[in-house]
């Protein structure tokens, strides 16, 4: 990586994908901003991982602090949601492949990529809707946020993960709105960063599902 910092492709300013400068916008020359959005997203993933590690350790401590820990049965719909989220990673990968294959903005490839992105977005909404349905099913059993420590952690973890997925959905919408008129730099930085984040949401959910299954 060190050699690429100075020698390889220098990206034009790409923070948040603002690659089309207009005189009204402040634009500076940020060499390496393309690399920065990639390392930025990994740094962000690191921080999110740390937050969920803190939640996990809270589960362990809370579990040991009193004898009120009982098992709750996870709503089966969670497995459907998991499938939707994993599928969305696959469709996003297809979009990436379609768009990355075109060095210039070639309209057919972009259209192809856009339809995969639409599928990804739809699956993202399916996941969020499914998570909401899981909450409703738990509530129907009388399990609310404050009912017992297990349900507390269930709601907190799913809500926090859901918020992060919503942020990913916002990023996807942003990418889709720009991809047709985007530059190579945009596709290599903002789009790539969004894709990395989205895949991480899937990995994080698998981890949380494991935690929720074994500990709750």
């Amino acid at each position: 990586m060190s050699s690429t910092i100075y020698e390889s492709v220098r990206m034009p300013p790409t923070d948040l994908g603002d690659s089309k400068p207009s005189s009204a916008r402040v634009t500076k020359v940020l060499y390496g901003a393309g690399e920065a959005s990639r390392s930025g997203i990994w740094v962000g993933i690191f921080a999110i991982t740390m937050s969920f590690a803190a939640f996990t350790s809270a589960i362990f401590v809370r579990q040991g602090s009193a004898a009120d820990w009982t098992h709750i049965v996870l709503p089966p719909i969670l497995y459907g949601n998991t499938l939707a989220l994993l599928l969305s990673s696959a469709t996003l990968q297809m979009a990436r492949r379609a768009i990355a294959a075109t060095p210039a903005a070639e309209s057919r490839a972009i259209r192809n990529g856009l339809s995969w992105l639409t599928a990804t977005l739809a699956l993202g909404f399916v996941f969020i809707g499914g998570q909401y349905e899981a909450w409703r099913q738990l509530a129907a059993q009388g399990l609310y946020l404050a009912t017992n420590p297990n349900s507390s952690f269930y709601y907190v973890l799913t809500a926090m993960h859901g918020l992060h997925v919503l942020a990913g959905i916002a990023a996807l919408v942003f990418v889709m709105s720009r991809i047709a008129v985007s530059s190579t730099a945009f596709r290599k930085s903002t789009f790539e960063a969004t894709a990395t984040y989205w895949h991480f949401m899937g990995v994080l959910w698998l981890y949380l599902l494991l935690v929720l299954r074994t500990k709750l």
Binding site: S23, V26, K28, V29, V43, M50, A54, R62, A66, A146
Partner: protein, 588 residues
């Protein structure tokens, strides 16, 4: 090719007042905004400490006009014991979060990190703007606690559960005041996380050609290491705040145990762990100490080298020491919990890394002192504050050796000894770094130099004053004077009251001396001598640009780095120094 494409992307500077000064994307403006926020917060925090010190020694004397701040908290201008704790909480929260995190790290880091690595801005300018405005919202939410009916919370800046989690029953301010505290800190975490992310990405990817990692100035390294710590620390405090807010508002029981009776009322919670809050909080809280002190260490090293006109014995070892401090900071949080009821065996485990952390700290001190030996140091306000930093750091740090041992800490933990320790080593030392940085960089930031005479007067008054305030705290603690009490009447502390009075007078005087600094800031901003490009004959990149730098820092040029950051005392060079971007050979 790069030069050509660069020209194509340089655009006109921002137009319009809002974009230029308010919602600016420019890291330099954002750095100044952070500085201004820290200045506001430190003024408020200091005013609160005045009220506390005054009340401690004249507990029944009326403070005119104070009833306007809170009718219930200061009826007739006399502070109630509960309101004393409110002031204590707000003092600590303002100082730790909005001063010690903002000033040395966010303010100076934002302004100088991109320039020192040869970049035109931070990697994500929009995130950078969001970081500041998020932090400002956090500040406003915290201040709002003064306006709610029963005032700010009384739980201290550490907000220990379960009393912080049960709500109104825990005392005045523990209703809405405490909610606002939790929300404010959660928002602050988000702003700091975004800021830290930006710093890391910028340092990793936006360095100019030739600016290898080891060619970065020491303060850039300090900001980089600090941002790595902040990223992990605030990522843990945020979940802790969320769980605390839920316990308070949603009826969950993360931190509240079964059968807890507060104010004669059985709390409707069960099974929570109060220690969990302490673990999560101090897992953030101890690294926070290094978030406050590392940037000042970097700034001070940077200034000392320039003032001595010769390199440190080893700049690399300073950087490695800062890294090891950052690493060890994750293993020592339990030393805040020796008296918490934690397993005594854990205390022993936390004691060992705590003592280990003194090794890199001592190495750094020895490098500073060893480099100073025989150095013909330039004496000015900046270098005096840098020397004052070392003095404070050593004086405050030595008491850490004692507190690191559980058996001694059990006796001293709840006394003024701890107050003296952390105020000197974390508070005053870090602030001395900020003062040093201000006198050193003010010319670069505003285009005008600060008044040197006033600066040196400010130094001596502050230096002597802070020793007068915080040294006696150690003595008070050793003889058993407990902390957090609002007044000492009719008890064994009676003979200590003259000393308390001395401290209060010293605090009032030292605080008043800060008016010299404020005056100097304002006066020099408009009437100071014009600052040349490189007033201190510095070698790093911030001295290669005009004062103040143009909006795109290097005026569209792209610095190429040829040297390590501190090429002073170079034989055969034209001056006694070589700039980092000068092609001149350092071999002579």
């Amino acid at each position: 090719m790069e030069e050509a494409s660069a020209q194509a992307h340089v655009h006109a500077p921002p137009e319009g007042f809002l974009r230029k000064y308010v919602f600016s994307l420019d890291h330099k403006v954002i750095g100044k905004q952070y500085y201004a926020l820290a200045l506001l917060a430190v003024s408020m925090g200091m005013a609160l400490s005045w009220l506390m010190r005054f009340h401690l020694v004249w507990p029944t004397t009326r403070i005119p006009g104070l009833e306007l701040l809170s009718k219930a908290g200061a009826p007739g201008g006399v502070i109630t014991p509960e309101y004393y704790l409110s002031l204590l909480t707000m003092h600590g929260t303002l100082m730790v979060f909005f001063v010690l995190t903002n000033a040395p790290f966010a303010a100076f880091g934002n302004y100088f990190l991109p320039i020192q690595i040869g970049a035109e801005d931070m990697a994500f300018p929009r995130f950078n703007m969001v970081s500041f405005w998020t932090t400002l919202v956090a500040f406003l939410v915290l201040i709002l606690a003064f306006a709610v009916p029963d005032g700010p919370p009384i739980s201290g800046w550490t907000s220990y559960a379960p009393l912080s989690a049960v709500g109104k029953d825990a005392g005045p301010g523990m209703g809405w005041g405490m909610n606002l505290w939790g929300i404010s800190i959660a928002i602050f975490c988000i702003g700091s996380l975004l800021g830290a992310l930006n710093f890391i990405a910028t340092t990793l990817d936006l360095r100019a050609k030739g600016m290898t990692l080891m060619r970065m100035p020491i303060c850039t390294w300090a900001w980089f290491i600090t941002s790595c710590i902040a990223l992990l620390a605030f990522a843990v405090l945020l979940p802790a705040c969320i769980l605390l807010i839920l316990d308070r508002t949603a009826g969950t029981s993360f931190f509240i145990p079964s059968g807890l009776v507060v104010s004669d009322r059985l709390q409707p919670h069960s099974g929570g762990s109060p220690l969990l809050w302490q673990h999560l909080f101090w897992f953030f809280g101890h690294p926070e100490v290094y978030i406050a002190i590392l940037p000042s260490m970097g700034i001070v090293s940077h200034i000392l080298i320039n003032s001595m006109r010769k390199p440190l014995l080893s700049a690399r070892v300073i950087i490695y020491s800062m890294m090891s401090i950052g690493f060890l900071s994750w293993m020592v949080w339990g030393h805040h919990m020796f008296v918490s009821g934690m397993n005594p065996f854990s205390s022993l485990l936390f004691s060992f890394p705590t003592l280990t952390i003194t090794i890199p700290a001592t190495i750094m001190t020895l490098i500073w002192l060893g480099s100073l030996y025989g150095a013909n140091i330039r004496i000015n306000a900046a270098s005096l504050f840098a020397l004052g930093f070392i003095s404070m750091f050593v004086s405050g740090g030595v008491s850490g050796f004692f507190l690191a041992q559980p058996s001694i800490d059990i006796v001293l933990h709840a006394t003024y000894f701890v107050v003296g320790h952390f105020h000197m080593v974390m508070g005053v030392a870090s602030i001395f770094g900020v003062f040093a940085g201000t006198y050193f960089w003010f010319g670069k930031m505003t285009g005008r130099m600060m008044n040197e005479t006033l600066g040196q007067l400010h130094f001596w008054l502050t230096f002597i004053g802070t020793y007068c305030i915080f040294m006696p705290f150690h003595y008070l603690g050793l003889v058993g004077n407990v902390r957090r009490y609002s007044a000492f009447v009719n008890d064994f502390t009676g003979p200590l009251m003259p000393l308390h009075k001395f401290i209060t007078i010293a605090a009032l005087g030292t605080g008043a001396a800060q008016l010299i600094f404020i005056f100097n800031l304002i006066y020099s901003r408009y009437k100071g001598a014009p600052a040349p490009e490189n007033p201190w004959n510095g070698t790093t990149l911030e001295w290669s640009v005009p004062s103040p730098p143009p909006w795109n820092n290097f005026g569209g040029k792209h610095p190429v780095i040829y040297h390590d950051p501190y090429q002073y005392d170079v034989k055969g060079s034209k001056g006694d120094y070589i700039m980092q971007d000068s092609p001149e050979s350092s071999a002579g």
